[in-house]
């Protein structure tokens, strides 16, 4: 084996060098595929229970979160401007497929306003229904009123009875007159008159009961009529009593006539009032008519309003929920009547000066995507600064991203330093010609190794970035040992041994 190698190497050294260089170039091409990994799969075996559980969790409920903090430096953080700023960022983030969910005051407020819009829409339907019903009712009432007004029957019948009554009374007075003139059949005449009077009183009482007691005026009239009726009945009783006591009392007729005249004048007074009332009623009826017309018109209008509302509801996308434009509205949404923050905002509105936005990734998203999204957020925040607001983006993915980028930086720095130190050390401690050759060789080996890692998909982790200095340090040993022995043999020209 070794013999073959030696003969091959002494015969075709140039070919071997070229072949090796070619192989390294091929390997190095794999460097494009090298990945930097900081994820869970670098910490725990992907077959372990713990890892699988975590993957399940991320699958169902999303993975890591980026958190964006807004801090109002000298005022309350919750302003319409800042919400608008958040909303824009949210729109950008939602275009990323790998973003699982975004939680922020914006989301909650939008949800609230969309709920309110729904309620508003529901309310609209109710209002339109209600208006429709009311309109119809009004029309109905109007019609009824109109009908009632044109009738006015009750009053006219009362009037008729009144004049009957008057005639009755006139008859009574005339009777009384007759009574005065005739004295012979006093007793008979008196008792006859008495019974007439009683009849009239009872009639009046009946009339009074016909009055609508709801109407104040009518009630008053009814009362008066009742009074008169009672008086008449009392009078009739007295007359009957007088008739019994015969003609012993000559002035009775006079008194009776007087009394009757009083009643008569009372009645005609009553009739005048009734006439007045009638006029008023007529005016009322006119008013009622007008009112009923008005009501009917209003009813028709309400029905048409209700129809319009129904149409409006049909095109309800004109009532798009959105962010409030007024600070007042916004605060009204977030704080209740007592100025206390609504519980639902607890998670995103930390205190008056601090609010956050949580951007959760899908489960098991690659590091590249996380970096991309956190860069997007960072550059958005940089480009869209708001006055007196401090904004910061943080969270595990952002930290990991920072670790990855400083890993790259650190690796470059370490490589350079390692090479520099080795040049110095080789120069002083390795006393052979071409003493820097091992370093060159080992660098080629490192390049080859990186390429090979890309080909066979071994990622660079926080641990393995230490590989390069170690590799340079350990790998160079082989080259040094080879070159040392070779140089030793070359130097032994005097041949003290062998």
């Amino acid at each position: 084996m070794l013999k073959k190698l030696i003969s091959l190497m002494s015969k075709h050294p140039v070919k071997i060098v070229l072949f090796t260089v070619m192989a390294i170039v091929l390997l190095a091409a794999g460097a494009r595929n090298v990945q930097m990994a900081t994820g869970n799969e670098t910490l725990v075996s992907s077959e372990s229970r713990v890892y699988i559980d975590n993957q399940e969790l991320e699958k169902e409920f999303g993975g890591e979160s980026i958190i964006i903090v807004y801090e109002g430096i000298d005022d309350k953080v919750l302003t319409v401007d800042r919400l608008g700023h958040m909303k824009k960022l949210e729109t950008i983030l939602n275009t990323h497929e790998e973003v699982y969910s975004v939680m922020s005051p914006v989301v909650l407020i939008e949800e609230m306003s969309s709920k309110q819009a729904d309620k508003y829409k529901d309310g609209l339907v109710e209002v339109s229904d209600g208006l429709y019903k009311m309109g119809e009712k009004l029309i109905e009432i109007g019609e009824q009123m109109e009908a009632n007004a044109s009738e006015g029957s009750q009053l006219s019948s009362v009037e008729g009875q009144m004049s009957e009554l008057n005639q009755g009374l006139n008859k009574m007075v005339q009777g009384q007159m007759k009574l005065k003139e005739g004295t012979i059949s006093l007793v008979n005449g008196y008792s006859q008159f008495g019974s007439y009077t009683k009849e009239a009183g009872l009639k009046l009482g009946a009339l009074a009961s016909k009055y609508n007691t709801d109407d104040l005026q009518a009630k008053q009239q009814a009362d008066q009529i009742n009074k008169i009726s009672t008086q008449l009945i009392q009078l009739s009783e007295k007359m009957l009593q007088g008739a019994e006591r015969s003609a012993a009392l000559p002035n009775v007729s006079e008194q009776t006539i007087k009394g009757l005249k009083g009643i008569e004048s009372g009645l005609s007074n009553q009739q005048r009032q009734l006439e007045k009332l009638q006029a008023e009623k007529e005016k009322q009826a006119k008013d009622l008519n007008e009112l009923s017309n008005g009501l009917m018109e209003m009813g028709t209008k309400l029905v048409s309003i209700s129809e319009n509302l129904t149409t409006m509801h049909g095109y309800s996308d004109t009532l798009k929920p959105g962010l409030p434009e007024k600070q007042e509205t916004l605060e009204h949404m977030v704080y209740d009547e007592n100025g206390k923050k609504r519980d639902i905002f607890n998670e995103v509105l930390i205190d008056d000066h601090t609010m956050i936005m949580m951007v959760k990734f899908n489960g098991n998203v690659s590091d590249g995507v996380k970096s991309e999204v956190s860069q997007t957020v960072k550059s958005y925040l940089n480009e869209n600064q708001i006055d007196s607001t401090e904004m910061m983006v943080s969270g595990k993915p952002v930290l990991d991203d920072a670790i990855r980028s400083s890993m790259k930086e650190s690796m470059q720095k370490m490589m350079m330093l390692s090479i520099l130190f080795m040049v110095i050390i080789l120069f002083f401690s390795f006393n052979v010609s071409w003493r820097l050759l091992p370093l060159g060789v080992i660098l080629i080996a490192v390049i080859g190794t990186v390429g090979l890692m890309g080909w066979i998909q071994i990622p660079i982790t926080m641990v393995s970035m230490a590989v390069f200095p170690i590799l340079i340090g350990l790998g160079i040993d082989y080259a040094i040992q080879f070159q040392n022995r070779y140089s030793e043999e070359m130097a032994e020209e005097e041949g003290d041994h062998e």
Binding site: T20, L57, A402, S406, S410, P438, Y478, E489
Partner: protein, 465 residues
Amino acid sequence: MNKKPQKSLYVTITKMVPAVLTALISTGLGFIALYTSPVPMIQDFGKMLTLGMIVSFIVGLFLLIPILFIRDHHFKSEGNKKKQTRLKAKKGDGFFNWFTKHLITLRWLIVIIAFLSAGFGIWADLKAGVETDVEKFMPQDTQELKDIHRLRDILGSTDSISVVYEADDVSSTEVMDWADEITGRVDREFPETIVESRSITTALRQMNDGELPEPHGIEEKLAEMPEEQKKLMMNEERTKGVITISIKHLEAEELKEFINDLMDFLEAKEIEGIETTVTGKAVLDVEMVTALTTGRYKMTLLGMGLVFLGLLIAYRHPVKAFIPLLPIILIVGWSGAAMSLLDIKYTPLTATLGALIIGIGTEFTILIMERFYEERKKGRNSREAIMITNRKTGKAILASAFTTIGGFTALLISDFVILSNFGLMTLINIFLALFSTIVVMPAILIILDRFVKIRHIRENELAVN
């Protein structure tokens, strides 16, 4: 054309290739121990190192040697450089001779002190702490790190544990009541650790003036909840829900204890039809810590075992296969002592030190041992053989140790705390390896020579005669 390059090539390949190959194999075997670590990034580290060493060997063999040969064979005649080299080398030879002589006389003392101190180191190492807080690994003045600390101040917590519960219908009254009770109770159960616990019931309570809605009202409230919020707590099929427990930033050990307590608590509260799983990033971290602390010794021991087996196959001699392990045991012990003296905690990186020590240490010891037996085979007695070995190979080892140190020094300057600590430890380990190779190894070789020499010497003496 002179024939010297040809001869040098011959000697280099016949003598050095087997020695370096043996060193490579034993280093590789040491690194294989890294694959047994349950922590994937350590496995990757092992793979990468092994690959890197193999590539380095191949490139050294097929690039460096042919280049040297081409230089001397085709282009170069003898220069004065080599004479200078020899002159310088002679100065160094004097020192090595003096040094080795003293070493041989003090061999027992050296060996005893070495093993006692290593024993102390291993004892100290058993008590070493483990650092797994990723935030303590990275550059400490990074803006992002400051940001996350501020975020922690604002929110009270950025770490969380998730309790996933599974049931046929997690929105059923029973499961809701259960989740509600757990969510509320867990805070009171672990008030020192838990900052806040949240589940779908917390959100329902928030929507309902602090009360859990009546069973018939739950559906309605669920429908009212923003989709973006709901899907963080309950899946669409309603077979799984999650209770998110925000906790303080804890050290791995405390975290481990807390998770165990939490699991016990949940088990006690478990009702039929509900299955719970405690998971989340924090649980993964704990798993890693456990893997690091328990896997470390196994890894080192396995590495040593593998190296021993490898050497046994190569040498077919138990003592010869055992000798390279002795300095490794010493370095492991001393390295543990150094870590506890410097108060460096174990990290995923420093946990690999054992394997690295095996890698670096065996290389040196095998080179020394090979040269020693090479000289012994030539018929020299053990003293002479040691003198020559230390003089010739010692120089090369010094050179390569220094270059290795040069390479590793770069780690010290890294912004990553994890790397600079690791760099410091590897530097210390190389010094220790160098020390044990040049100081302790000759003593061991002489002491153990009686177990090895017999056969070889006879063979060689016969050959000489």
